[in-house]
Every structure is written in structure tokens, then in C-alpha cells.
């Protein structure tokens, strides 16, 4: 038996594309956010409301990742924002190569901010860099307050936590959800995480979230 030291990165192909995307975005001074959550947490609704609230102030483009269909891209396009769909055909996460080709289909020169809406999945997408500036994790109230403790990786790696569907917390609430537990558990691993409780349905909390976005777009390359 002969042992050979290799010391080679296994996902280097993905990393190379992620670096390339990151350089491309920096050249065009675009803030890029990789949005990750379980299916049904309200990512697309958050995006359509965010785009409407920031209309005339920040030019937003969207890359939509789904296993099948272009339902989400159609929803984004109703706001007037440019959107490109990636169908992964079964894969549980977006890859940097897929994002690379989608970036080429967006009107880059006209944008300040690009959201990548990843495939609905709280686990796998956290392990694949796409070239984004920050990860944004969305947790919605009906999913339960134990998710940061159970799925720590994505909460540890994200810059922002959006707690969505907080309209459901209004008494008499149909769900048992301790929002303080979510905040405490998320901050245990990630003290600096920005937390915005929002309702994409009512618009509650969007002023603070949109203010953070505007500030981040402004500060990133200045």
C-alpha cells in the first residue's frame, strides 16, 4: 500500500465560478444577495414587495432558482424588474456556474442590486458559494422557532435574518412561535446578524429592511 498526499479542493470548480461572479459584480459595483430558506417561507413575496418599495431609488434584478417552472420569474416580472429563471431539474441548490450564465442575461449596467433566490432548502444551498456579497436567510413563523438551533449552518453564515409572516403572531395567534428564542439562538452563533421581523403580506417591518438595503448598496463600494 502506497499513501499519497493530495491536498486538493473537491469543489474547486464551483469556487472558481463563484470568484469570477464576485469579480464581475464588483466591477459593476453591484450588491449581490443570496437568499436562502425553506420552500414556502415567502421569499418571492418579500422580493416583489421589496422591489415595489424601492422603486425609483434602487434598481433591482433577480435570479430565480427553482427545481421546475418559471412561476417565480413571472411574479417578479409583474413588478417591472428584470428576472432570469434557472431550473435545476432536481438539484437541491444553485451552483456558481448556473449563476454565471444567468448574470449574462440580466441588464447588468442598469442594476444596483441583484437578489439570487436560491432553491427552497435550508440545508444544501448554504454550502455552495455563488459569488454573492452576503447570504440572507428567511425563516417564516409557521416553520417554528427551533430552526436556528436545528439548522445552524445557514444562520451562522448569513448577514441578515428576515423573520417573515409576523402578522401571524397577532393574538389570538394560531401558531406557537417564540420570536425571542429565534433571535437568541441565531445570535449565539452569529452575534452580528441583522434581524428584521417582517410581514411581506402587510408590509410591516419593510421600512427597516429597505433602509438596510439602501445603506448596504450605498456603502459597499464607497
Amino acid at each position: 500500500m502506497q499513501k499519497i498526499d493530495v491536498g486538493k479542493k473537491i469543489l474547486s470548480a464551483n469556487e472558481e465560478y463563484a470568484l469570477r461572479n464576485n469579480r464581475f459584480l464588483a466591477e459593476h459595483k453591484i450588491l449581490c444577495l443570496n437568499m436562502i430558506s425553506s420552500p414556502g417561507s415567502g421569499k418571492t413575496t418579500i422580493l416583489t414587495r421589496t422591489i415595489s418599495e424601492l422603486k425609483g431609488k434602487i434598481k433591482i434584478g433577480v435570479i430565480e432558482g427553482d427545481i421546475q417552472t418559471d412561476i417565480d420569474t413571472q411574479r417578479i416580472k409583474t413588478t417591472g424588474a428584470p428576472a432570469v429563471q434557472i431550473n435545476t431539474n432536481g438539484a437541491c441548490h444553485l451552483s456558481a456556474a448556473q449563476v454565471n450564465s444567468a448574470l449574462g442575461k440580466l441588464p447588468i449596467k442598469k442594476l444596483d442590486l441583484i437578489f439570487i433566490e436560491n432553491v427552497g432548502n435550508l440545508v444544501c444551498p448554504s454550502a455552495f458559494e455563488l459569488g454573492e456579497n452576503y447570504k440572507i436567510v428567511v425563516l417564516s413563523v409557521p416553520e417554528g422557532d427551533d430552526k436556528p438551533a436545528k439548522y445552524p449552518a445557514i444562520f451562522a453564515k448569513s448577514k441578515v435574518l428576515l423573520i417573515n409572516k409576523i402578522d401571524l403572531l397577532k393574538a389570538p395567534s394560531p401558531v406557537d412561535f417564540d420570536i425571542e428564542r429565534v433571535k437568541t439562538d441565531a445570535r449565539k452563533l452569529n452575534k452580528g446578524i441583522e434581524i428584521f421581523p417582517v410581514s411581506a403580506k402587510t408590509g410591516s417591518g419593510f421600512a427597516e429592511w429597505c433602509q438596510w438595503l439602501a445603506k448596504s448598496v450605498k456603502n459597499l463600494y464607497s
Partner: protein
Amino acid sequence: MHEMMVAQNLLSAILEEAAKHNAKPEAAKISCGKLNAVNDETLCFAFEAIAKGTLCEGVKLEIEYKPIQGQCKNCNQQFAVELSCPRCPKCGSEDFQLQPDAPLMLEEIEFQTE
């Protein structure tokens, strides 16, 4: 089930080394950070399935998980972060910067010798 994609990348990396050394691989050691979302059983299962009929058929995988590293913002101590109760072991502070997770690495291959 992204372990299948990891397995495919791993298989091509091992086959490349095997061709370089002109030998049959018997075992491979890989390492990855704990936040990498790679399940060892799933990866071994996926690898076994795609290695069938290649030079890597029967190759045993060993996976080492690297601890998550943190740097204390209070006393600068580097330490392995315990997910259940993360705090600096030196000064007890809960204010720390999480270091980037260790990447997935192919560390070592064992080849058959004549």
C-alpha cells in the same frame, strides 16, 4: 442530495491522481468543515454507486470533519466553536467572529502496490 455532485467531483479527482500515479486506488481520505452540509453516509453511498465499473470501484472513503473555528473579539483567542454552547474557552466571551468553514478537501489516497 448534493452529495451526488460532491461524489462526482471526488471521483474525477481520484481518477486523475490514479492516472498520474498509474496505480489502483484502494482508499481515500477527505476532510470538510462541520458547516459544509455533507453527510458521510450519503456521500459514501453516492460514491459507491457512481464508482461502479471505474478504477475506483470498491474504494473506501474516510471522512474527517474539521471543527468550526472562531476568533474571540475580546481576547483574540482562536478556538473550536461548540455549536450547542459557543463561547471563548479562554475568557468566556460570547462575542466572536466565525471563521470560514474548512473546504471539502481530498487529503490522501492509498494505492495498491504490486
